[in-house]
């Protein structure tokens, strides 16, 4: 089966409209940020369900996960999902807020397998625990590293510098 990129030409405003219609009460703040990108907010409890349905949407079909970013906003953490639809050749950016005190979130590896290493990186750097991830280990830093260095409240520890 060949896949032709961008065969569905809806226009980005129409796509944003369809999304806020199909996910009313789930996607908040749906807005067009760039000519090919729709941005939306999402509650963390609804993440997995919405992700699965986004992938299976008939025309939009966000089948590809480009990346996940862990962000520390100070008051809270955030996990940002950047997904792509081959059919419309557009992107969707999902911002999921994660509370600092309980930084836990459902994994989306079973929806988009590409999430595996990105969730590991986000866990490694920002310390968001992705529940249900098949192998949530550190990916960039060494295994015995203490803390999550890209958190704003991270303090450089002597034990992380054995060669100092």
């Amino acid at each position: 089966m060949t896949l032709e990129i961008g065969t569905v030409t809806l226009g980005i405003d129409k796509i944003a409209e369809q999304l806020s219609g199909a996910f009313a009460g789930e996607l908040d703040d749906v807005r067009v940020q760039e000519p090919d990108t729709v941005v939306a907010r999402l509650e963390r409890t609804k993440l997995k369900d919405v992700a699965r349905r986004l992938k299976e949407l008939p025309e939009l079909a966000y089948e590809t996960l480009n990346w996940i970013a862990g962000v520390d906003l100070g008051s809270q953490l955030e996990s940002v999902y950047h997904v792509y639809s081959w059919h419309t050749n557009t992107y969707l950016e999902l911002h999921v807020a994660v509370p600092r005190a309980k930084a836990e979130l459902d994994t989306v590896t079973d929806v988009w397998p590409a999430a595996d290493w990105h969730e590991r990186e986000s866990w490694d750097m920002v310390g968001i625990r992705y529940l249900g991830h098949p192998d949530l280990r550190r990916i960039l830093l060494k295994d015995d590293f203490v803390g999550h260095p890209l958190r704003k409240d991270y303090v450089d520890l002597a034990e992380n510098h054995p060669h100092a």
């Binding site: 060494k142 260095p149 450089d156 510098h161 054995p162 060669h163």
Partner: protein, 181 residues
């Protein structure tokens, strides 16, 4: 003042000239000279590029700059066949044990050149959460090359200094209390 200026005059030995090679066909020299001369002109560097310095290191291997002029063009991908480890880039805490292990696997005699600000002191990443502030915390370093990254010419100067250092090597056992030289 470079390292070469610090070599005492009595250790500066001239190369045999080509016109001296005819009859009688014998050269007399010292073991110190002939071994060090041979070693210093066929140094096999270990391809140890860690960051952007590696790009300069690689470009010095190709025709435009051409490290082959100093007999150091045979970059080896294995420590077993290398004499010289050019640490080109930032060493982080996860890489440091690996670097140490590869250094230990190199056969004697071996030398280490710390190329660029990162390998020398941590450079712009000095305060980094996972950065080793200088490769000399992990392995002994013979020559430091400043720069961020150093140009190939700077690398060559460092390698020439290293050649000078290799040429100073003496096989005579050091006596206790003897002057270094």
């Amino acid at each position: 003042m470079g390292l070469s200026d610090m070599v005492p005059d009595r250790l500066k030995v001239g190369y045999p000239k080509l016109e001296d090679f005819h009859d009688p066909n014998v050269i007399t020299t010292t073991a110190d000279f002939i071994f060090s001369w041979a070693r210093s002109n066929s140094v096999f560097p270990f391809t140890y590029g860690l960051a952007c310095c590696a790009i300069e290191m690689l470009s010095s291997g190709f025709a435009r700059f051409d490290v082959a002029r100093y007999g150091m063009e045979v970059f080896r991908p294995t420590p077993r066949q290398s004499d010289l480890m050019i640490v080109a880039g930032t060493v982080n805490e996860k890489m440091a044990p690996v670097l140490k292990r590869l250094y230990d696997q190199m056969a004697e005699p071996k030398w280490v050149v710390s190329m660029g600000a990162c390998a020398t002191s941590g450079g712009p990443f000095y305060d980094g959460y996972n950065v080793v502030n200088g490769v000399d915390k992990v392995v002994p370093v013979d020559v430091y090359i400043p720069g961020c990254p150093p140009r190939p010419e700077a690398l060559f100067q460092g390698l020439l200094e290293l050649q000078t250092k290799i040429k100073q090597h003496s096989f005579a056992p050091k006596l206790p209390g003897a002057q270094d030289g």
